[in-house]
């Protein structure tokens, strides 16, 4: 009897050991592991909020650089209105929240073993992986435009040395010079920022080099906030800025670096300063992990941002294809918070609640003239869709006082989001 009871206990012990074996995190008395790749608005937010939602989760944030350089307000840097130093942020406060930092490039993801390999040789096992790699330039997307070409005709669409290169070129240009920007037909990071950049460069030309001119060659016939931008351009930059739409022959089919020439279907445009907004795709690690589809972006489901292609991997920020949500810093931050809560729920074996998300994009058409676009999103048809009746652009007939206020709120937004993500 005693003996048999003992053996029964042993059997139970063995059974529970077997049951626990597939859950090594629990067996070893530590929390589940989440690896976040990408230290921008999406990745850094997700890492911090995971710790906030459940401090037991072991969170590692992988970032190529120990310093983050923010894209929002980098158009101000291009136009000489802001110092580059104001765009740099460190991860000290992220680490203080209990997030482990790994400053190395992520090279590969073994989706079977659930492990990330870093450039420094380290392997990071995960229970769930969050990818927030942002964008890569698609160097095959525009004929004549490769990495070498970008040293002459900067894109400045990833903030950093490219931003400063474009600024130096504008500063070196003679008064009377011609600046040409090109805008692609395909999905890009923060599309409205193309027109903000054009506006702030036009402001620079108007105030510093008034005989100069800026041309936008656009592969599209319309864009977000077009009426607000065009009204402001007519009022503020009537001789400095010209927008050539697709139907007016704006589609750039190739560039010629030696002469800084944009080749369209009908004409050639030579520039003194050339800014190419090139075609883009999700960051390299997304392609390597198999979460990007043929469009180059990563389809995700709208509740936890889990990849539609690879289970256990979530994609947030510019790399994600969510449906209606644009690729923008506010959206990235909003997605990251929803994703962090959902991932924590999934790790507990729970079911994430249906979210609602907001996006707000502010643009400057001049330093004291702001406009905005807002949207509210909910899941629908397997993606995120606009909540009807909500959102929209700043009023086209808003008085100057509203424009001034929106410029102030735009600055307030940047300070707030930086406080939340890096402060």
């Amino acid at each position: 009897m005693t003996c048999s009871r003992k053996s029964r206990r042993d059997v139970l012990k063995a059974a529970s050991a077997v049951a626990l074996f597939p859950l090594p995190a629990i067996a070893q008395g530590r929390g589940p592991r989440v690896v976040v790749i990408g230290g921008g608005f999406a990745g850094a937010t997700a890492a911090r909020f995971l710790k906030r939602v459940d401090a037991k989760i072991d969170v590692t944030l992988v970032s190529d650089n120990a310093t983050f350089i923010a894209c929002p307000f980098s158009n101000h840097v291009v136009a000489g209105l802001r110092d580059m130093e104001a765009q740099r942020f460190g991860y000290g406060k992220v680490a203080a929240d209990g997030v482990t930092l790994a400053f190395s490039a992520a090279q590969a993801v073994d989706t079977d073993k659930r492990s990330v390999r870093l450039a420094d040789g380290k392997a990071l096992p995960y229970d769930r992986l969050i990818l927030a790699p942002g964008i890569d330039i698609d160097w095959k997307g525009l004929r004549g435009y490769d990495e070498k070409a970008a040293a002459v005709m900067p894109h400045a669409w990833k903030a950093g040395e490219q931003t400063l290169l474009l600024r130096r070129q504008l500063e070196a240009m003679e008064d009377g010079g011609k600046v040409v920007m090109s805008s692609p037909a395909t999905l890009v990071r923060c599309p409205t920022a193309i027109y903000e950049r054009a506006s702030l460069i036009a402001y620079y030309l108007k105030t510093k080099k008034p005989r100069s001119k800026l041309l936008i060659l656009d592969a599209k016939d319309t864009f977000s906030q077009r009426r607000n931008f065009q009204n402001a351009w007519k009022e503020l930059y009537p001789t400095q800025l010209e927008w050539i739409s697709l139907s007016q022959g704006g589609n750039v089919s190739s560039v010629e670096v030696s002469t800084r020439t944009f080749v369209t279907d009908f004409d050639n445009f030579d520039a003194d300063v050339a800014n190419v907004i090139p075609p883009q795709k999700a960051g390299a690690i997304a392609q390597a992990a198999g979460v990007a589809d043929r469009t180059g972006w990563c389809p995700v489901e709208p509740i936890s941002f889990e990849s539609q292609l690879v289970p256990g991997i979530h994609v947030i920020g510019d790399a994600a294809m969510t449906g209606a949500m644009p690729k923008a810093a506010f959206a990235a931050n909003a997605q990251a918070k929803v994703c962090a809560v959902a991932v924590a729920a999934l790790l507990r074996g729970g079911k994430p609640a249906e979210p609602r998300l907001i996006n707000t994009c502010y643009s400057f058409v001049a330093p004291d003239y702001g406009i905005s676009f807002a949207e509210v999103f909910k899941p629908g048809n397997g993606m995120l869709v606009d909540v009807e009746g909500a959102g929209g652009s700043s009023a086209t007939d808003a008085p100057p006082e509203t424009r001034r206020l929106e410029a102030q709120y735009a600055e307030g937004w940047f300070k707030a989001i930086i406080t939340e993500v890096f402060g």
Partner: protein, 97 residues
């Protein structure tokens, strides 16, 4: 009567704690701090955490009906029902200022 009042008070306190400790914020709440997170003086937008529920909810509902003028919050408030707004406001009211 007295007992009812006491238990109502206890219930209110428990509700407060429930909101404060409940990790799950109502749908939509987490987006707000994209603008409303910095301490006063740092940003033009007010930090919501710790503000009275009625202050947040009344303002949002007024923005929604355009009874109060806004630059952008009218467009955002229209994405939420009054009930959803009150739930979000209650959650922020229960957060540490």
């Amino acid at each position: 009567m007295k007992a009812t009042r006491v238990s109502a008070g206890v219930a209110a306190v428990l509700l407060m704690i429930g909101v404060a400790r409940g990790a799950e914020a109502p749908a939509g709440a987490s987006s707000c701090t994209g603008c409303h997170s910095a301490p006063s003086g740092v940003s033009a937008m007010r930090r919501l955490s710790g503000l009275p529920q009625a202050e947040i909810a009344d303002k949002m509902i007024a923005f929604k009906s355009s009874a109060a003028t806004a630059t952008i919050m009218d467009r955002i408030a229209k994405g939420f029902s009054d009930e959803e707004i009150r739930a979000i406001a209650a959650w922020y009211a229960a957060q540490k200022p």
